[in-house]
Symmetry: C2
Subunit: 143 residues, 2 copies
């Protein structure tokens, strides 16, 4: 029997997914924790980075949390000058959120950790494997 025996055992797929995801999130988690930030902050940074000018309400909907839960971490990020909140000129009730220069730098740093990790794995496994990975993950994400 080859040493790839039961290499595609469905249970093995579950474990691979679990441990791969852990490795995938460990890097950013460490960097954030060193700054006293958590995953909520990361998600806030990420969403605002992807949607500059987003309103607080839209961010609440996007993250699926209550406004009270968002308030504290968002305020921290604004106080640390990682996120900028400017009153919208069209509707002065609305605050337009965007990343400051520092916020962009941190977000880029966090993203780089993950893209580097993925990039190394893709490079090691080859283009076909990379294509297959993308196809399967795309299919799963659409579930």
């Amino acid at each position: 029997m080859p040493d790839t025996f039961d290499d595609k055992d469905p249970r093995r797929a579950i474990e691979r997914f679990y441990f791969a995801y852990r490795a995938f999130t460990a890097g950013p988690d460490r960097l954030l924790e060193a700054r006293g930030l958590g995953r909520v902050h990361h998600r806030i940074l990420y969403f605002i980075g992807r949607n500059p000018g987003i309103s607080v309400g839209a961010l609440i909907d996007a993250l699926g949390v209550s406004k009270q839960a968002l308030n504290a971490p968002l305020r921290e990020l604004i106080e640390r000058d990682l996120i900028r909140a400017e009153t919208s000129p069209e509707d002065r009730r609305v605050r337009q959120l965007s990343l400051s220069a520092h916020g962009q730098a941190l977000e880029a740093q966090l993203t780089k950790i993950q893209t580097d990790l993925l990039g190394r794995a893709f490079a090691d496994c080859g283009g076909d494997a990379t294509d297959g990975w993308h196809a399967v993950m795309q299919r799963l994400a659409a579930s």
Copy 2:
């Protein structure tokens, strides 16, 4: 430009990973929540299923939680007759944990939800894609 433009943008890989993992965990989470259980209970069931006869201390180490944090959910699972705890004959201080018939059934049900989801994605994407997925995930998990 083809509609697969920037289909392998590193940022897209991050998003795919995130949403694929959410889909991967959503099914078990729903089933567990319907029974008033959480992810801790799932992890306990899983580890004991993989390591029948494991001791409480070893389980604490494996899960990386304090014994006080483990105590409550573990007790629930024992009271519900999902997990069996028997005194070790060699060392009567030690309790050997194992899944009861009900526990095995629940664990199998949880696992099936995930293997079915993965199996459908693998079937849709083909054998080569499946191989690639496994290769990349294996590589990541080893990081």
